[in-house]
Subunit: 291 residues, 2 copies
């Protein structure tokens, strides 16, 4: 049994971008599936899927990330292997193309889990990650307009992620984001933090999207994983935590998750969340804008 | 019913420092107790207790923090209010006296939960926190010796914290640290991250000490809080997670925790963890080097 689920962010999407976003998540799911189908590991599958989303300028991650209060792109990403609980994350990194790869390097080449800021960029350069400007003209124009309004929208197309189950029964999760538009420089969101926006164990893999501060305060991804470990289905676990978050914080989130038998959970409290998945004997990908 | 528990870090303590550390945690517990006894809130109590520990150069937090690989003190701190799930944290901040106060300011004066690095220091300065050198001669000498050995000890006196219950039934937790000796610059530990080294809900408050990366990978504080919320006693919940951490990572931790009825949990898998507490009708503080 192999499975992959990918999301492109819960939030507001322009009508004109929805088809492109659905095509983008389908493409990312296919990249991850190919890894799994050829015998690759869950960690490589979520890495491949998230790279595809980071490189697609339609999504708020990697190239095409939204800009912070000072007009800079500060990127967060996290990755986790369920079988070993190995985790890596980077927060507030500038001028790198694929933050998920830097997060994975933190996991594999250091004794740290989370690196932040300029020192994280220094680590990336030491590891050979080239200088790269992820800011697109479209996001720059959007930022100018948002700044003129003096406030970012509460939800913008935000945060991408993937969860996967490989042929050896291992789960993994990866999540990447440009964060919130007009965010304060130095703000660390939930995506790079194990248990907040991203989490994986032997029995559950979770990637979440939404207002990162609420996810951090709830330890949302950990909460969903704990429910799945207690025997709840991924769909039911994700729905319960979505409901809790709406009740406690009044904020909708989006979640994708998997258990070790390949059961899929996909929920969102927002109008849309482009997502795609394929599990076990499915003969093709399913890809949708909303559930 | 009011209650406070304070710890000064699980780790290796020189024989000559143990009495001083026990006196220090007793003093910090008294500072927190005084707040509670005069009708103050749990948040103010844990703040007062942690300030006392940060200002005591014997502990690895605030003044007297251990130094990173490059000889700088990079400080992490987190605070959380159980009744509102409000949380604040700072990571890798340099040259501030009381990181717990900056963490609290993040919680109260921004829409962020976690700020990191140079931008977090900029926020602190904007908020009026003065430039302050927390490095003591003793830690500098220790760092020179550790660097000469080319490796830090796996456990040094590390991470302080406090949990409190106030007369209105509110719980809070605060945790502060200089982190691991010789750590990589930019490394974010568990202390500032809600759910990792620090957590509070309506029913549980938790502060943990130990190898931060394992705490992040386990979401240790959240795990303990969830167990307490399920009806387990704080002592049993903390002991169970200590055992899990030792089994999974081979790493001992220390934990203090409280539930909403003032029941206390105190465990450590290390030789010592200076701690002090007072709850409800106790007629004085209890303070010990080891349980």
């Amino acid at each position: 049994m192999i499975a992959i689920v990918v999301h492109g962010g819960a939030g507001r999407w322009d009508e004109t971008e929805r088809d492109g976003a659905v095509a983008g998540v389908r493409c990312a799911a296919a990249a991850g599936w190919q890894v799994l189908e050829s015998g690759g590991g869950a960690l490589d599958a979520v890495t491949a899927a998230v790279i595809a989303l980071e490189d697609d300028p339609l999504f708020n991650a990697g190239t095409g990330s939204v800009l912070n209060a000072e007009g800079d792109a500060e990127l967060d990403a996290g990755i986790m292997a369920g079988d070993t609980l190995a985790a890596g994350g980077v927060a507030c990194v500038r001028r790198v193309r694929n933050p998920v790869l830097v997060a994975r390097r933190v996991m594999e080449a250091t004794d740290c889990v989370l690196l932040a800021g300029a020192e994280a960029v220094r680590f990336a350069r030491d590891q050979g990650f080239a200088d790269y400007d992820p800011v697109t003209g479209r996001r720059r124009a959007r930022w100018r307009a948002a700044r003129a309004r003096q406030a970012g929208e509460r939800l913008v197309p935000g945060t991408v992620g993937a969860v996967a189950l490989d042929g050896n029964g291992r789960l993994a999760a990866a999540t990447s984001t440009g964060g919130r538009e007009l965010k304060r420089p130095g703000r660390v969101g939930d995506s790079p933090v194990p248990g907040a926006g991203n989490y994986a164990t032997a029995q559950a893999a979770v990637s979440a999207t939404g207002w990162g501060e609420f996810m951090l305060r709830m330890a949302a991804a950990k909460t969903i994983a704990t429910r799945i470990e207690s025997g709840e289905s991924p769909q039911s676990a994700a729905a319960a935590v979505l409901e809790d978050m709406e009740r406690i914080f009044g904020a909708p989130i989006g979640v994708i998750c998997l258990d070790a038998r390949g059961a899929v959970g996909i929920v969102h409290g927002t109008e849309g969340m482009p997502h795609a998945w394929r599990s076990g004997g499915d003969d093709d990908f399913k890809a949708r804008f909303a559930t």
